[in-house]
Amino acid sequence: MTIATGPLHPESALGATTPELREFVVFRTLGQDFCIDILCVREIRGWTKPSNLPHAPAFVEGVINLRGAIIPIVDLADRLGLSAIAEDERNVIIVTSLGEKVTGLVVETVTDILSVPAADIQPVPDLSSDELRAVLRGLVVHQGRLLRLLDIAAILGPELAA
């Protein structure tokens, strides 16, 4: 696996027909910065201790009650193959909705909401981790921070639970 050195083709990452600004929610977990499309985010809420789920993948921390709906909570860092983040009252839950399904992502902190011209999104270089490549959709450099653009659908695919 080598890192691509050729010219970057931003369009290839997103398809050529997105000249407008895209808005992202920027957050940080385990010291890394990420962003996801704001259209998938329903709300951001404080930490609630989830109830354990049996027979669940390790990255599924459990379920919480979101105004009557039971939603699973996924540790994003763990899901991305990093280690699990420490349980902390200051963690936040990003509630995402994907189709009919609502899922919470636990991250350390939400930092910004960012508008980025689609042309500024850089493609993902070759990665050693297939796991990561499956969920990364691009990179954004913003004020010296490297934001990893995640594909929520790939992270919370239908395989989250059978």
């Binding site: 027979h55 390790a58 699973p72 992270i155 395989e159």
Partner: protein, 697 residues
């Protein structure tokens, strides 16, 4: 175009109701009631469907409905008698009409050949029978019984004069007048002549004359005055005020000129705005339709959800108040109690909105039975009991398939062929009975037939052949019957198109189990078979026992709990290395540690200090579930886990506790070691694998 779509939707909804009315009417005709009103109702239903269909340009539907109508018209005009041939043709036609409506609704055209055949069959009956009537029955005019025309409205004049002490006796004439006005159209005249300046407002000095047009009789009118009878002068006469004997004491001259407009009295207003009373007392077979509104199911579901939230939040509020130490303030406590009652009432009422009688579902089975019988070459009729039993609509919807299956099974496997039945001394027509009843918070539906019963020798033989049981197994008759529920079991020697593909009973059972129900079978050789299913009344709330295992708060459905016991140290025995058992009154029950079964911990070595909850499985097997503590028993609101996550083996659903946290509801059936204990817990997510790690199954 939205409006057109709306109209279409309304047409189909109405057509659906008309089809139900049509079916009910035809069945009454089948039962021998070919009275004018019944035939008229059937005719009207077909006619309305035709009219609506014409408006939307459903040409096939209009054509067929027209022929149908013609046939019904012959019946209505008395040209034809409602004989078996005609009734069968009418029923078939109604089924086909229903199919056509459904086809238009789903926009999937029916097979032309099928349509052609149905239409030709209808026309054939029309021709053949009309000939037959002209030949065999020269006096074609068949006497028809016409139901009495709607009773003409009668005019009553009611003079009502409460005594002066009526108020102090606790009566309110306004209420009486309101009830009276509900019986029909009322014109109320107030006589206030007794009111003098400075009158005593605690005394009732008013009198009323009511001209009431109603279809009720005098006794109904008198019944309105039952309570106040001792405190008023009352006269009820039939006919207008003019016909009244003049100069009755309690009638004042002012009120005598009755036909003139009512004095602008307070009571007149409510009386006139009241809708016309419904004829309830008449002994007509169909119950009078009650006022109903159409509501989008989603709206009701949202209401159910919010009502559930209300209950949860009440519990949260109560806990918060306890924590803040304000419980001692009695007014807080009282308000809280009232809030609790109100929220419970709201929840009950909301659930009642979703409750529906099982009648439409059961009525559909007539058709299933008829078709099944004709395919199988058997004769059968359906008897329905307890069709007014109500159950949540979500359950009704999901019962249709299992019930269809059961009816087909009863016809295919239960009812014998006519010649066999005759030889056995039974009537040639077999009877399939569906009964519904409420029993201790559940609905119990029994489907029985008077057929040959289960051939236990054959069942046993097949089970041995398929290796389901060892040849030497000793089974009680009911155990043999229960073999039918094993996957892949079918005794039908030939596979028929109705049933007998061997996917029958076990699928049926899993469908019922998925609804939180149980199914059992009972059979008497030569006398018949009965399948009994018992279901919760709703899928939204249930009684649960709050238990704790491995530090997790979990809910056990109370319905499945037989008893709880606290085993003494050493009470548990071990079979081999794993499988602990506990002895309960001489019976050994397998013990399942809930914490271990869910992968939260390793099974504990000793049962002491823990609690065994004995639960019953569907097939009457009992197991003991080992938990650490029992906290509470309460009504819980069932929340789906599958909406946002997925199915977890051993977990039926989830609920929200008083503190807002989520507790999982255990499914005792799936918690069995064979199903879940032996399943390795999901491996932790290995980083960097090609495919994202997924949950076990």
């Amino acid at each position: 175009m939205a409006p057109a779509t709306d109209l279409r939707a309304i047409f189909f909804e109405e057509a659906e109701e008309l089809l139900i009315a049509l079916d009910a009417g035809l069945r009454r005709i089948e039962g021998g009631d070919s009275g004018g009103e019944t035939v008229n109702a059937v005719f009207r239903a077909v006619h309305s469907i035709k009219g609506g269909a014409a408006a939307f340009g459903f040409a096939n539907l209009v054509g067929f409905a027209h022929s149908f109508e013609t046939l019904l018209d012959d019946l209505r005009s008395g040209e034809r008698a409602a004989d078996a041939v005609l009734v069968a043709a009418l029923l078939d036609a109604s089924y086909h009409l229903a199919d056509m409506v459904h086809a238009e609704r789903s926009e999937t055209p029916l097979d032309q050949a099928v349509q052609q055949r149905a239409h030709e069959a209808l026309l054939a009956v029309q021709d053949a029978a009309s000939q037959r009537i002209s030949i065999e029955v020269p006096f074609a005019a068949v006497p028809m019984e016409f139901a009495p025309l709607p009773v003409a409205e009668k005019l009553f004049t009611v003079d009502f004069a409460p005594h002066a002490d009526a108020f102090s006796a606790g009566h309110d004439p306004a209420l009486v007048l309101r009830d009276l006005a509900a019986l029909g159209r009322a014109e109320v005249t107030l006589d206030q002549s007794a009111l003098t300046e400075g009158f005593d407002p605690s005394q009732c000095l008013l009198r009323w004359r009511v001209r009431l047009e109603t279809d009720r009789d005098e006794a109904d009118l008198r019944a309105v005055f039952d309570f106040i009878a001792g405190h008023c002068d009352l006269s009820i006469r039939e006919g207008g005020a003019d016909a009244a004997p003049a100069g009755r004491e309690e009638v004042s001259p002012v009120a005598e000129a009755a036909p003139r407009p009512a004095t602008p009295a307070r009571q007149a207003a409510p009386a006139e705005t009241r809708p016309e009373g419904r004829p309830e007392g008449r002994a007509e077979p169909p119950a009078p339709p009650r006022a109903t509104i159409r509501v989008d199911v989603d709206r009701v579901d949202r209401l159910v959800n919010v009502a559930g939230e209300l209950v949860i939040h009440h519990a949260m509020l109560a806990e918060a108040i306890v924590r803040s130490g304000r419980r001692a303030e009695t007014d807080v406590e009282r308000s809280l109690d009232q809030l609790k009652q109100l929220s419970r009432q709201i929840q009950d009422s909301v659930m009642a909105i979703r409750a529906q009688p099982v009648k439409p579902l059961f009525d559909r089975m007539h058709r299933i039975l008829r078709e099944a019988a004709s395919v199988a070459g058997k004769q059968a009729r359906l008897v329905i009991e307890g069709e007014t039993t109500e159950v949540d609509r979500t359950i009704i919807e999901r019962l249709a398939d299992p019930l269809t299956h059961m009816v087909r099974n009863a016809v295919d496997h239960g009812i014998e062929r006519p010649e066999t039945r005759r030889a056995a001394g039974k009537t040639e027509t077999g009877v399939v009975t569906i009964q519904a009843a409420h029993r201790s918070g559940r609905i119990v539906i029994t489907l029985s037939d008077d057929g040959g019963g289960i051939n236990r020798d054959r069942v046993r033989q097949v089970a041995v052949e398929r290796g389901l049981i060892p040849a030497t197994a000793e089974l009680s008759p009911s155990e043999v019957d229960a073999l039918l529920f094993l996957p892949g079991f079918s005794t039908a020697t030939e596979v028929s198109s109705l049933s007998g593909r061997g996917v029958g009973m076990d699928v049926l059972r899993s469908e019922i189990t998925a609804l939180g129900g149980r199914i059992s079978i009972a059979s008497q050789p030569g006398k018949g078979t009965a399948l009994t299913i018992s279901l919760p009344l709703t899928l939204a709330v249930m009684d649960g026992m709050v238990v704790e295992a491995a530090g997790q708060v979990l809910i056990l459905p109370v319905a499945s709990i037989v008893e709880t016991l606290r085993p003494e140290s050493g009470a548990g025995h071990r079979l081999g290395a794993m499988d602990p058992v506990v002895e309960l009154r001489g019976i050994c029950l397998p013990v399942i540690d809930v914490g271990a079964a869910l992968g939260f911990r390793d099974a504990p070595a000793d049962l002491a200090g823990r609690i065994c909850v004995v639960v019953e499985r569907d097939d009457k097997n009992t197991v003991a579930l080992l938990v650490d503590a029992i906290h509470d028993q309460r009504q819980i609101v069932i929340k789906s886990l599958e909406d946002n996550y997925g199915h977890i083996p051993g977990i039926a659903a989830a609920t929200v506790l008083g503190d807002g946290s989520v507790a999982l509801i255990l499914d005792p059936v799936e918690l069995l070691p064979g199903r879940s204990l032996l399943k390795p817990p999901a491996a932790p997510a290995p980083a960097g694998t090609a495919r994202p790690p997924i949950a076990a199954e």
